[in-house]
Subunit: 168 residues, 2 copies
């Protein structure tokens, strides 16, 4: 087993054990996991000084994009493609940090809205500028290969049931 | 903001806000995150009945690949590219499950070895067969695009400092 690339080494083992039909898929999925881990490390490093995780940043970002700086909790969950419980706990934490407020919608008291506070609005713009500079503008591939990779991942997401439209 | 694809919608917002130089990178990184999430869901579903997480499965798999069915904890960490503390807690859990045993190496008492038990060996083979069938053999892209995507992710990992050798 080579030390150089654990994923290539695992691929070799898979083939050697007679699992050739699954070896390439294993290598792809393990590569996605590793790439995710590398990005999470870089993103966490940028967001930690702002007191944010990526999950909480994404909520602030969506609220800042919305016209009223506020959104139903259920809509946040569907846009972020995560469970309602994850949204609830992240928003509760953001509320404690003074970055978000929760209130019920006046026209329908069953709907809980999350709204950005002025502090949340200021913070998300600073965090976005830092993330753009330190991570998103330099993902590690040429612009052409970034698009190629995103296209392949879109096809992958689509195969797993995600609604997908390619960035243009 | 379109509802159809949250990542394409975010990309649009990024461009509209004047962050064009970071928009494609943001879409790629968010796509990696989402693809990871989709795979984790499928993998967890397969491993749950076996009482395993993917992290613990990977440890069993590496031990089963090794000649002596045993490996230094430090080597597990470097092959899995995770922190020593993560390996320690995963192995402690596997030990409680009766799937792994820890002992010090006789030639060097400072080295802690993790060894597969017969129960661990049997379980990892069943779990691998299930993962191969239900996930790895059907990653959601054509074989050619699977290889293309893995190659792009390898380039990405390499750009972030990973030692990379392409599967052949």
């Amino acid at each position: 087993m080579t030390d150089r690339d654990p994923i290539a080494a695992a691929h070799e083992q898979w083939v050697d054990h007679g699992w050739s039909d699954a070896a390439d898929g294993m290598a792809l999925i393990t590569s996605v996991t590793r790439a995710h881990q590398l990005f999470v490390e870089r993103i966490d490093e940028v967001l930690r000084p702002h007191g944010l995780t990526f999950a909480r940043y994404e909520i602030l970002r969506l609220l800042a994009f919305s016209r009223r700086r506020s959104m139903a909790m259920s809509r946040l969950g569907s846009l972020l493609q995560v469970h309602a419980t994850s949204v609830t706990s992240a928003v509760a934490r953001l509320e404690k940090q003074g970055l978000v407020e929760r209130r019920t919608q006046e026209s329908d008291r069953r709907v809980v809205l999350a709204s950005l506070t002025p502090a949340g609005e200021a913070l998300v713009e600073r965090a976005t500028a830092d993330l753009n500079d330190a991570v998103f503008a330099t993902p590690g591939l040429t612009p052409e290969r970034v698009r190629e990779a995103t296209e392949l991942l879109s096809a992958l997401r689509s195969a797993h049931g995600d609604a997908v439209a390619l960035p243009h």
